[in-house]
């Protein structure tokens, strides 16, 4: 009976659509896009190594940087998100207010502006390297979004679960970490996966901070060679391939976590 409650899905709002087996149309769309993107990329690189292979070589270290920023930011934003989510649900008024203000402030400022602010404006006080500034900005920004996801996920768990755990002698902390959060994870994971992919795409904004990510390397190549069409075609294809593979990864994890749903 209680199981119905747990099928609540948080509305997917951003990021690439995650393919699941139930959704047949999207499943094939994913395959077609992947095969098309991959074959175009390979065709261009093999058929016209000049300039496409040169571009690929030039931006390769940028791909690594993009991944580094994504994974480090995801790690910190998950921690920050969990804390914020719990804070937003806290009965302690002070903690609740702090978490809520954080979410309000961050969600009200565009990420690009946050990046400028942390790097160039605060840069006169805190001399952090570009990479650290980029990761800080991305984590703080996505921490707020993740916080909302965590809050919604935790709230979706029926109150009876808490009551049952409490009557079994669990304290509040134990109830949260042993009973509520493990169940909430199944609801939380799809939107977190989406945020993950959205974050990867948003790392292209850090190219403004002189961080040599995929987009900046592409721009550097394009401004020197004037091969704008070729360079941005490659950059777009690479981003597309990465997000396609990541969304598959997310959907596999998701299916693993819902073994009885299908």
């Amino acid at each position: 009976m209680k199981d119905n409650k747990q099928k609540v899905q948080i509305e997917v709002s951003d990021g690439a659509a995650i393919p699941t087996k139930k959704d047949f149309g999207l499943f094939t769309a994913w395959h077609i896009t992947l095969i098309a993107a991959l074959s175009i990329l390979l065709y261009l690189v093999i058929r016209y190594p000049d300039p496409y292979l040169d571009i690929l070589e030039f931006v390769s270290d940028g791909i690594v940087v993009t991944f580094e920023i994504t994974f480090v930011s995801i790690f910190f934003s998950l921690i920050l998100g969990l804390l914020t989510g719990l804070g937003r649900l806290s009965k302690n008024k002070c903690i609740n207010l702090i978490a809520s203000i954080y979410v309000e402030v961050i969600r009200g400022i565009p990420l690009l502006v946050q990046l400028f602010y942390i790097y160039y404006a605060l840069g006169s006080f805190f001399k952090v390297p570009p990479f650290v500034a980029a990761v800080t900005a991305m984590s703080i920004c996505y921490g707020a979004y993740m916080g909302e996801v965590f809050r919604a996920g935790i709230e979706s768990i029926d109150k009876g679960q808490t009551e049952a755990a409490r009557s079994l002698g669990f304290n509040t902390k134990q109830t949260m970490f042993y009973v509520i959060i493990p169940q909430a994870m199944r609801t939380i994971l799809p939107p977190v996966g989406n945020e993950f992919i959205a974050l990867l795409k948003d790392t292209s904004l850090v190219s403004i901070l002189a961080v040599g990510d995929l987009l900046r390397r592409g721009r550097e190549f394009a401004t020197e060679s004037f091969a704008y069409f070729e360079t941005y075609t490659m950059v777009a294809l690479i981003y597309l391939l990465i997000t396609l593979l990541l969304s598959k990864l997310v959907s596999i994890t998701e299916e693993k976590m819902r073994p009885y749903d299908n």
């Binding site: 160039y120 840069g123 001399k127 002189a210 900046r216 550097e220 004037f226 704008y228």
Partner: protein, 243 residues
């Protein structure tokens, strides 16, 4: 009667516009004192005055369109504007992609460092981070020196800001721009200095036009020639560089 007057006025006006050919120039107005946005949000600078004077001499009306630097050459190829008036140095590589007017300004690359630094040349900065604007001859100059970590910025002002914030050991850009930041700009001049002029041969600014656009190129060349010959150039130099 009034209608008639208005009509003649209208005809006269349109005739005026038709007579003066309009040329749209793309400008990345982040390069003081050559081209930048003043307090009234107008595009001003040495190059801008120069092109206005050239227009007066050769009979065209320049219109300036603010454009981000790293797409400026793509926009020219795509026909979004007729020419680029944005301190574009004439290089062999660029000549293959576009046509250039006769040179209108001689420029060298300057290395800007914090005022306390004792760096004397670009070679002293091996193993350190040096910044420049993306896709400029300054950036290409840094990349040529082995061992330096090049950092590209969207605008030169952002690179200068990072130099002041201590994340860069130096910035390379065209000497008039370097002088502007290191000597005149009030927030920067007390913290920066020009350490060296990089010996990479002289460069010249030219107006870039789409390959094969001879009509526009001839007009612009005619204007530049007149500005040089009539001594207007000297006056403009005095106005913008005080020399």
């Amino acid at each position: 009667m009034r209608k008639f007057l208005l009509m003649t006025l209208f005809i006269l006006l349109t005739a005026q516009i038709a007579a003066a050919r309009t040329i749209v120039f793309a400008v990345d107005a982040t390069w003081p004192p050559m081209e930048f946005i003043d307090a009234n949000k107008h595009i001003v600078g040495y190059s801008i005055d120069y092109m206005k004077a050239a227009g007066k001499e050769a009979g065209f009306t320049p219109v300036f369109k603010n454009t981000a630097w790293d797409g400026i050459f793509a926009g020219l190829a795509g026909g979004e504007y007729d020419a680029i008036c944005s301190s574009v140095s004439i290089t062999e590589k660029r000549k293959k992609a576009m046509d250039f007017s006769i040179p209108y300004f001689k420029v060298r690359q300057a290395l800007v460092v914090p005022i306390s630094s004792n760096v004397k040349s670009l070679e002293d900065l091996k193993g350190k981070k040096v910044g420049a604007q993306i896709g400029t001859t300054g950036y290409f100059a840094i990349k040529k020196v082995k061992g330096i970590i090049p950092k590209s910025y969207d605008e030169i002002g952002l690179a200068m800001q990072d130099l002041i914030n201590g994340r860069l050991a130096g910035v390379v850009c065209d000497d008039p721009v370097a002088a502007n930041y290191a000597l005149r700009e009030k927030n920067f001049a007390s913290k920066l200095k020009i350490a060296a002029i990089i010996e990479a041969g002289d460069e010249y600014y030219g107006i870039a036009v789409k390959k094969g656009n001879k009509e526009i190129l001839d007009l612009i060349n005619k204007g530049i020639k007149a500005v040089k010959e009539k001594g207007i150039e000297a006056k403009l130099k005095k106005k913008w560089f005080g020399q």
